[in-house]
């Protein structure tokens, strides 16, 4: 990798770091939420664990909170 490429990556760091932090934080919170709740609106615990991890780039956790999480 040339230094020009490294410079380009550095340029993106201020965007990437917060994204990664939010992504991992959201994933951790979602997994905690899935595994501390017994009932879901749709689907099962195993299904939601898989969806959250496979779709960890935001889509999995968001799907869980919109259609998986039970109404309290």
């Amino acid at each position: 990798m040339s230094t020009a490429d490294l410079e380009k990556i550095k340029d993106f760091l201020p965007l990437l770091i917060p994204l990664v932090i939010i992504e991992l934080g959201l994933l951790a919170y979602t997994l905690w939420h899935i595994n501390t709740h017994e009932n879901y609106k749709h689907g099962t615990r195993a299904l939601w664990n898989v969806v959250a991890i496979v779709g960890m780039q935001f889509i999995g956790p968001i799907l869980y909170f919109i259609i998986g999480k039970e109404d309290e």
Partner: protein, 251 residues
């Protein structure tokens, strides 16, 4: 009535609606900047492989970014409307509003509180979206060139309120969330198709999404007087109509 408003806000928190909306607005703000920064790089890679394909510019500028701003906001707005489409109808289906009304809460109070809490969430989410985007735009390109920032950004906020007003109107008489969404979608499609008529396009509420021109100085604030008035009047009509219709609604 203010107690009902607080109950609504608590419910949005408990159901994680605010949480999801917050994450979405934040995500799309950052992704908008990423897209604007990445597009020239991707085109450059493309140009290297394709002989005869030349690039006009290799650096993205601030207008690419704010173009993304007004394009990207659509998706969180749609998700917001979908999440709120059942706000009234699930209560009708579960008959949970009956005890409140028999205890003396007015139907007008219910309607106004529900709409106000939804408007507050939209305002908060949109402010977050704008704040994050504005920060990154200043960081990468500098915001000095931008004109009429508050107005052009505020217009889209008003556009969101307009769609929310229509959502409220349909919620006051529809039975299911799907009917509400079809109603809002229907109004939106009529507007979108009317945009093909060149004379009509600058007068429609959808013209308020064109804040980019105002920011670049291609348009002046007075260009948006007609859609602004139309939107204000239709928000007022939707609210009045919603309040009138919910009085007769079977709860």
């Amino acid at each position: 009535m203010s107690a009902f408003f607080r109950k609504e806000m608590t419910e949005h928190m408990r159901r994680k609606r605010i949480f999801v909306i917050g994450i979405l607005f934040l995500l799309f703000a950052v992704l908008g900047v990423v897209t604007a920064k990445l597009t020239p790089l991707i085109l450059e890679m493309f140009a290297d492989q394709m002989p005869g394909f030349t690039m006009d510019k290799t650096e993205s500028d601030i207008w690419d970014a704010w173009g993304q701003y007004f394009k990207n906001i659509d998706i969180p707005l749609i998700v917001f409307l979908i999440l709120w489409s059942g706000s009234f109808t699930t209560e009708y289906q579960k008959h949970t509003l009956i005890p409140l009304v028999t205890k003396g809460l007015s139907r007008t109070g219910i309607f106004v509180s529900k709409m106000a809490s939804a408007a507050l969430v939209w305002t908060g989410g949109y402010a977050l979206y704008f704040g994050v985007f504005y920060f990154y735009s200043d960081f990468y390109w500098g915001n000095g060139e931008l004109k009429n920032v508050a107005l052009s950004v505020g217009m889209y906020w008003l556009y969101g309120l307009w769609l929310l007003g229509i959502l409220g109107l349909f919620s006051s008489f529809a039975d299911t969330a799907m009917q509400v969404l079809l109603g809002v979608g229907g109004v939106f499609f009529v507007c979108s198709f009317s945009e093909f008529v060149p004379k009509l396009a600058p007068k429609l509420p959808t013209a308020l999404t064109g804040g980019l021109g105002l920011m670049q100085g291609r348009a002046v604030p007075s260009d948006f007087t007609v859609p602004f008035v139309i939107v204000m009047v239709s928000i007022a009509l939707c609210t009045a109509g919603g309040i009138a219709l919910i009085q007769k609604k079977q709860l």
